[in-house]
Amino acid sequence: MKSFYYKTFQRDSKVYLSRSSSFLGPIVFFLITITLYPLAFGSDEEQLAELASGIIWISILLANLLSHQFIFNEDYKDGSLDLVLASGKSLFVWASIKIFVNWYFSSLPLIFLSLVTSFMLYLPLDAALILALTLFLGTPILSMFGALAGALTLERGNIVGSSIVIPMCLPALILGILAIQSYKNEEVLFYIFLLAAFLFFSIPILIASCLGAIRLHFE
């Protein structure tokens, strides 16, 4: 007998793999945003190398928030969210699994892609590796904030949700960029540890507030 949580994990993964829109959507969004920057700022090599870390971080932040907006939407519409709430299973674990699967399928590909795009934007290899590391620590934070935005605006998905959480994602963005900029000296570890601390600090708080936000639609 497989447990409820394992089945949730399996089902969500299958849904993700079987639907090209949810799998490819963030990737296409990310690539097109990256392409916009050289078109707007010009193809000057030095300038792009300077901007690269910021460009990639901002594009990933936007792609992440947009793709996580709809994380609970379908379960809400087809009524399975009601059943989960009524079943007495731990909502915390359930939401964590959903967010993890979402992150695995929509953010992890972007992290690998960011390595490729950082070469396209002339970022040095060392900095690109640090960038990937900061993204690895930072994207779960963005995913959880995106899930919170989605949970808040379940009834009507609108721009309000993401505009609320973007200012709250700033520490992740700033710490990530600072780590990349100081990739040559010792400080890089300091910023990476801080980013990791921010991640572990926000996991319980953000998931708990996600649950609060979900419950408010059922009061």
Partner: protein, 245 residues
């Protein structure tokens, strides 16, 4: 004490108290602000390095102080609402958020007017300015939540969750923005003492006090309006308006 608190969170009682105290509080706050600002503008000495321009401090610092304090009181209210479900706490948050946005804007505006002659630019991407701008965005985002649900309780719940998360996050945002960049002069008034001359400090403190009184008065008025909106069909509201006639 406990009884007084219990009475204060009941809508009719609060409404009555606010109705009585509002005119006095409002007049008091206006006169204190006038006292502080006029003293500051006409009687306090001229600053050695900045000249007459510095006098905008008597608006800038109180506005910035009030803008931040409102957010922290809203965080306390959100915790109160989430734990004890006291409706007055949500009334408080919803009435204070627009005030907070206005004072944050005022702080940014007076700061820009002050920055133009002293720094030579209206706006710099400095730590404090940036975190104040983020505070303004946060206030506006909270206000935009007010109309995103159909049910009253959902709005209250959503607003308090966002206020709480923002409150936990605000110090972190401030710290990270500070690492990112700093140009602004550090805070001149701290609890351990101040780096301004007394003759400038006293009118400044009076002006800060006046701003706080003003926010209290206007906040009470806004809370009354919010209470009326929610309780419009209740008997005690009808009775009040019948007495008026």
């Amino acid at each position: 004490m406990r009884q007084f608190f219990n009475q204060l969170i009941s809508f009719p009682y609060f409404f009555k108290i606010a109705q009585i105290s509002f005119p006095y509080l409002f007049l008091l706050s206006i006169s204190v602000i006038l006292l502080g600002v006029l003293w500051g503008v006409f009687f306090s000495p001229v600053d050695v390095t900045q000249g007459e321009v510095y006098r905008i401090i008597y608006l800038h610092v109180p506005a910035a102080s009030v803008a931040q304090s409102i957010y922290y009181t809203m965080v306390i209210a959100s915790v109160t609402y989430l734990i004890w479900r006291i409706k007055m706490a949500s009334v408080f948050m919803i009435s204070m958020a627009p005030l907070g946005a206005i004072f944050t804007f005022l702080a940014l505006f007076t700061g820009a007017v002050w920055g133009q002659p002293t720094w030579g630019t209206w706006w710099v991407w400095d730590a404090r300015l940036t975190s104040t701008l983020i505070l303004l965005i946060l206030y506006l985002a909270i206000i935009s939540l007010f109309s995103s649900f159909d049910r009253r309780a959902s709005i209250d719940q959503a607003v308090s969750i966002v206020v709480l998360i923002g409150g936990i996050n605000l110090p972190i945002i401030k710290l990270s923005v500070e690492w990112w960049n700093t140009l602004h002069q550090s805070a001149s008034i701290t609890l351990s003492g101040s780096s301004i001359d007394n003759e400038m400090l006293i009118p400044l403190l009076i002006s800060i006090l006046g701003f706080y009184l003003y926010v209290t008065a206007i906040g009470m008025r806004r809370m009354q309006v919010e209470i009326l909106k929610r309780e419009i069909s209740h008997n005690w509201v009808k009775r009040i308006f019948q007495e008026k006639k």
